[in-house]
Amino acid sequence: MKEFGLQAVVLEPGPAMQYLTGVRWGKSERTFAVVLPAKGDPVWVLPGFEEMRARELIHLGKDDIRVWQEDESPYARIVEGLRDRGAAGPGNRVGIDEAARFFVFDGIRKLAPQLEFSGAAQVLHAAGADQAQGAGRGGGR
C-alpha cells in the first residue's frame, strides 16, 4: 500500500479477502467488509446478528470487529475504521476491491467525500491476492 500511495484497502468477501485474511464469506445485501490499513490492525465491519458465526472464522484482527445493526449504516462503521487508522483525512487515498459492488463503494464515498478512491488491483496483485479476482459475485443466497 505504501508503495502505491494508499492509506488503506477495503475488501468485500471474495478471493482477495480469503487470500489475505483466510475468511470465506458469501456476499449478500448485508455489507460485510474488512479495512486493511497501511498501518495498524485490520478492522472488520459486519452485521450484528452474524457476529457469533463470524467470530468462528476471523483470526486476523479479531480484536477489532465492529457490528452494525439492521437499521444502522455499515458505511459509518467502515469510515470510522478508516478514521481510527489514520486513513480518512482529506486527500487520503483508499483502495477498493475491484470486485466490490458499486453500492458498497457508494455508501462509503457518501460518508467520506474527502477521500480519493482507486482500484486496489495493483496492491492486491503485488500481494499475490488476485489469482481468482475475475468473478464479480461470490456465493451466498
Binding site: R53, E70, R101, G136
Partner: protein
C-alpha cells in the same frame, strides 16, 4: 422498460449501466454471469438499449439484445472507451445510474473515460421495477415455494438420531434434484439453532434437539425461501412456549402487512410480540437479532426490506419473507419463515404456516 425509463427521468438519470446478473435477466431475459471480460448493458432514458461486449463474446451478447438494441464489441483495452461512446451516442448526458452490483472496476473504468460525469446508484430504477411483481412472477414464486415444501417433507422423513447436519442438507438437495430444480438448505441442530445462519461446528442429531432448516430453490430464476423449526422427539415446556411466541410473531407480521402500511410497521408488529414475551428489546438477544423480512424475487434477498427505518409503503405485488427469529444463545433458536405477497386486501402466504412445534407442515 418503459417503467424504468420513467423512473430514470424522475431520478434525473440519462441512462443506467448494468453488468450480468439478476437485474439484466429481469430486463432482457439474458442469463449472464459477470466475468473477467466486461459485458455492460446500457438502458438509456431515450433510444434503444445496447450492449458492449468483448469481440469473443459477440455471439452470446446477441442473446442480451434479442428484444431490442444493438451489440457493440471492443477489442482489447478499449471496453470503457466504447462504453463511454455508447452513452454519449444515446445522449445520456452527465448523470449516469450504476446498478447496485456493478463491480467497482467497471465504474472505475468508466469514470476515467467520463471525468465530468456524475455516477449514482440506480436502485430507484431497478428496484423500483423489480419490487412489484406481475401475476406471472407471482406464479413462478408460488411454484418455487410449493417445491420447497415438498423437498422439506421428503427430507424431514429421513430424520434420525445421530444424523449430521450435512446429511440432512444433502437429503434436501437430493429431494430438489428429484423434483427437477436446483436448491440447497442449511440445516442446524440443537443449541446452534440460536445462530440465524448456523455454525461451522459439526452437529449430530439427539433426542430433544430442535431442527432448523432454511433456504430455497429457484424456478426460472425466481427464488423460494422457507424456514421450519421442529422438535426431534419430545419438546420441553420451554421449547413449546418459545415456539408459540415465534408463531404469534409471524402471524402479527402477516396481519400488519396491509397495502399502504410502512415496511417498518411490519417489523414492529412482529418485534412487539417477541418483546412483550420478555425478549429483546430491539435487536438484543435473547430476542430477534435481525429484521423481520426481505423482498424476494429473482434474488433470494432483494429490495425492499421489512426493517426499522424503512418507511416505504407496501403495495400490491410486493413479495416478502416473514421470518422473525427468537435466538437464545446457549439454548436454542426458533425461526418460522414463509413468504407472502401483498394484494389489495392484505398479505397472503404462498405456503401454509407450520401449525405446531411437532408439525412443520400445515
Amino acid at each position: 422498460m418503459e417503467k424504468a425509463r420513467g423512473l430514470m427521468r424522475r431520478e434525473g438519470l440519462g441512462a443506467v449501466v448494468l453488468e450480468g446478473g439478476t437485474s439484466l435477466f429481469y430486463f432482457t431475459g439474458a442469463r449472464w454471469q459477470a466475468g473477467e471480460r466486461i459485458l455492460a448493458w446500457v438502458l438509456p432514458a431515450k433510444g434503444d438499449p445496447l450492449v458492449v461486449a468483448a469481440q469473443a463474446d459477440a455471439a452470446k451478447a446477441q442473446s442480451v439484445v434479442r428484444i431490442s438494441g444493438e451489440v457493440r464489441t471492443y477489442e482489447k483495452d478499449d471496453a470503457y472507451e466504447k462504453l463511454a461512446q455508447a452513452l454519449k451516442d444515446r445522449g445520456a448526458g452527465s448523470r449516469i445510474g450504476i446498478e447496485e452490483r456493478v463491480r467497482f472496476a467497471v465504474y472505475d473504468g468508466l469514470r476515467k473515460q467520463m471525468p465530468g460525469a456524475e455516477f449514482a446508484g440506480a436502485d430507484a430504477v431497478t428496484a423500483g421495477c423489480r419490487m412489484i411483481k406481475s401475476p406471472a412472477e407471482i406464479a413462478l414464486l408460488q411454484r418455487a415455494n410449493d417445491i420447497t415444501i415438498e423437498a422439506y417433507k421428503a427430507a424431514f422423513a429421513t430424520l434420525r438420531e445421530g444424523m449430521t447436519q450435512r446429511e440432512l442438507s444433502g437429503n434436501i438437495a437430493a429431494a430438489y434434484r428429484a423434483l427437477g430444480v436446483s436448491g440447497n438448505a442449511m440445516a442446524i441442530f440443537g443449541k446452534y439453532t440460536a445462530f440465524p445462519h448456523g455454525s461451522i461446528e459439526p452437529q449430530t442429531l439427539r433426542e430433544g434437539d430442535l431442527v432448523l432448516v432454511d433456504d430455497g430453490c429457484s424456478v426460472e430464476g425466481y427464488e423460494s425461501d422457507i424456514t421450519r423449526t421442529m422438535i426431534f422427539g419430545k419438546p420441553t415446556a420451554r421449547q413449546v412456549q418459545v415456539w408459540n411466541v415465534e408463531r404469534k410473531a409471524q402471524d402479527a407480521a402477516l396481519a400488519a402487512a396491509k397495502p399502504g402500511a410502512a415496511c417498518e410497521s411490519v417489523d414492529a408488529a412482529a418485534r412487539k410480540v417477541i418483546t412483550d414475551a420478555g425478549f429483546g428489546p430491539g435487536y438484543k438477544v435473547p430476542g430477534l437479532p435481525h429484521r423481520t423480512g426481505h423482498g424476494i424475487g429473482l434474488d433470494g434477498h432483494e429490495w425492499t426490506y421489512l426493517v426499522k427505518g424503512n418507511t416505504t409503503p407496501l403495495a400490491p405485488g410486493m413479495c416478502f419473507s416473514d421470518e422473525p427469529t427468537i435466538a437464545i444463545y446457549g439454548e436454542f433458536g426458533v425461526r418460522l419463515e414463509d413468504c407472502m405477497y401483498i394484494t389489495e386486501s392484505g398479505a397472503r402466504m404462498f405456503t401454509k404456516q407450520s401449525p405446531a412445534i411437532d408439525q412443520p407442515f400445515g
